[in-house]
Symmetry: C2
Subunit: 174 residues, 2 copies
């Protein structure tokens, strides 16, 4: 069954956070929307640092949805000497040497980790040490960070493999 979103499911999920509608009447959509934005924590601006200015980092940086959805990139870090000092959109690429002071100075809360696997763990640890609160991780490793720090993994190879598995499971197609 493909993730059909049922009415009962939505009501149950909402009930986990409170009661938002009026029986027999329905929901005030805009009000509900605002309440949900509060609950999700997307009713404010989040300060993001991009660690890794390679292809993925560049694609993300240009991705308009981030800024428009409340995620502001306030720092770009990369270890490539050819990149350090150059600008993306008026934002200067900085060396990882300054990671901690950058994060602390700018009040960075989230980190997008788009560096090679071998560098990811160290960068993550230093970012956590500097006080960030969450990590969006593109490196194909399981980061070891304190449990208080949420990590979201993006693993595109795994997702392709999930497709391969689903296709293989249901037998060769017609």
């Amino acid at each position: 069954m493909r993730g059909r979103t049922t009415a009962a499911q939505v009501r149950k999920d909402l009930s986990h956070f409170g009661s938002f509608g009026k029986r027999g009447l329905g929901y005030k959509v805009e009000e509900l929307r605002q309440r949900l934005r509060q609950i999700l924590g997307v009713d404010r601006l989040w300060k993001v640092a991009l660690i890794g200015a390679g292809r993925i980092g560049s694609a993300l940086f240009e991705y308009p949805a981030f800024e428009s959805r409340g995620y502001e990139c306030v720092a770009i870090i990369d270890s490539d000497p050819d990149k350090i000092g150059t600008n993306w959109n008026n934002l200067q690429i900085r060396s990882p040497d300054h990671l901690e002071s950058l994060i602390r100075g700018l009040g960075v809360e989230l980190v997008i980790l788009a560096v090679p696997a071998r560098a990811a763990q160290e960068m993550a640890e230093r970012a956590v040490e500097a006080g960030i609160e969450g990590i969006l991780n593109f490196a194909p490793i399981r980061l070891k960070v304190p449990t208080r720090i949420p990590v979201e993994d993006v693993n595109l190879v795994m997702q392709l493999e999930a497709l391969s598995f689903a296709i293989t499971q249901r037998g060769p197609a017609a």
Copy 2:
């Protein structure tokens, strides 16, 4: 609790597909690895078409893990006239006009959809019509395709929002 992978869990999962070890002895790692590759369907080469040659598409195309993990990009499609005809790595970018014949002619099995949301549904339908078997979807919409076609969604904004939620839930950090 952060996704701790337990021994019992692994055994239970394996048991779903068969019996691979010897009691009291353990698993032959390389043999197990091959069996699992078969089950996952990653023991062969998959032919992939990249639809959308923007920033994300470009990042993916250059991503070495794909090729090395058995996913071969055999076609790039984009509607931008400035891109059509140019080459990425000896692969010519083609117009979506030829989508169906390209897919059929090259035996494309998987599609990576990295086009703007407004174009995604149409491209998906045409790709399915042409016989592809699965979609890795970067467009932030729920594609409507036959249930026999598995879809994996990549939604980076949602993953950032998941971080925002997790952080907000556990109360402002120390």
